[in-house]
Symmetry: C2
Subunit: 254 residues, 2 copies
């Protein structure tokens, strides 16, 4: 089935495969070169960008649907994923957008479940930037990382969804460790600091931060310093996964 046929099939027969009225949108956070980034798709009809999203198979857990979508976009299997909010504005204008899409592809006059009202569940994912291979889907012709504060205007309410995700991530930082999913296995204290600062959108005192994070016990200091940096070389750390998991469940009281 070629590209156009595939899309037509999705519009006309997708409702046999997927639940109606419900979609999933993913805010995929990554961290690279001291910048917080999110992964976006370029909708090949609107010229606008969009969050990676998809639909729920008739016999699929929603978490699985989100996982499937993430895997298709990033190639990653083990992903930290969680739902953070449901968006149910009756005026989320999926109908107009999807009609326009179909028209741009060159199909018209058909009826479709895609013109129905959609409620969408927002999922946020934290991934290791360096391990991601961005892959576009059939509705998109690009899949790229955007610096969090340079995200363009997106389709529908996707900017709102992003803001809500960021907000909930900031809240989480107060009572849960977060770095494990966003950083490579080995990292330095300044990198971890910068991650926290970027998510929170404000600077922290590096000395107090170090004391606090060390006191949680979730870090293991390695006997190895970063090579090839100007100035004093920082030590590498990695997460003590056992204690990290514990802190995830029990909370940190940050």
């Amino acid at each position: 089935m070629d590209y156009k046929e595939e899309i037509k099939d999705h519009f006309i027969s997708g409702h046999k495969k997927y639940l109606r009225h419900i979609s999933v949108d993913c805010v995929i956070f990554g961290f690279h070169k001291n910048e917080l980034k999110i992964l976006l798709l370029k909708a090949n009809y609107a010229g606008k960008w969009a969050l990676p999203g998809g639909f729920i198979l008739k016999d699929e857990h929603m978490d699985e649907a989100a996982k499937r979508i993430l895997e298709q976009r990033t190639g990653l299997m083990e992903i930290y994923l969680q739902q953070f909010h449901v968006f149910s504005e009756p005026e989320r204008s999926t109908k107009r957008v999807n009609k326009q899409f179909l028209k741009n592809v060159g199909i018209e006059g058909e009826e479709s479940w895609m013109f129905d009202r959609f409620i969408t569940v927002g999922y946020s994912a934290l991934v290791d930037f360096t391990k991601v291979q961005p892959v576009a889907d059939i509705f998109s012709d690009a899949c790229e990382w955007f610096e969090i504060h340079k995200v363009p205007e997106m389709i529908l309410d996707h900017n709102l969804i992003l803001d809500t995700a960021l907000n909930s991530l900031q809240l989480q930082l107060n009572y849960q460790p977060v770095g494990y999913n966003l950083l490579p296995e080995k990292f330095t204290m300044p990198e971890l600091l910068k991650l926290y600062e970027t998510i929170l959108g404000r600077t922290l005192d590096r000395r107090n931060f170090q004391r606090k994070i060390i006191s949680t016990g979730i870090l293991k200091k390695l006997n190895e310093t970063k090579k090839g940096v100007a100035h004093k070389a920082p030590y590498y750390y990695k997460f003590d996964l056992r204690k990290y998991q514990k802190a995830l469940k029990a909370g940190l009281g940050f």
Copy 2:
């Protein structure tokens, strides 16, 4: 339309009115006689209890749907309401339960949207116990308060939904004021203390608690003590609504 006709109509034609596959379930918390309670309906088919729930009109915001359901069950208009989780187990056996229901009512052999798989969104509500007039719906023959730790086995995954709601309420207590929606206008410090203790499931030092809650500035002390109590009479307090709202938005850092 009589009772049975109404139910039949709901099963056969409800999908013209409501979104398919999606429902809303509400965990309604109240506080009375130093006990945390929730409002349950007795499903008139299963002999089991259930959370008050309902469906989303085709042109309705999900928050509005939850509000509508709450209003119908409690008579209250101004309610503190928030979504806390989406439950999407594909094996939530709504089909079996709803088929049984229809059979018990005396209807059989029909097809119905109610036999489809349902994803449900959990909402939690905090209400003033004393102002609630519990009202059953057409699927139920009773609507009653249950002490939170004496909740019976419920239909489907409703016990899980309740546990999740309680958990999220406990988390909230750490960074948001909560009492306003659960207590009558005037209340004493021991009552507020007991509310916190009940939600958290552990005792707090009353003297430290008082200092902490006073220091947030969300309380106004009245020049009036409780009458007719043995021992020393406690003062009444009420919430400083302006500061309370502020704290809701800004967080308390409790």
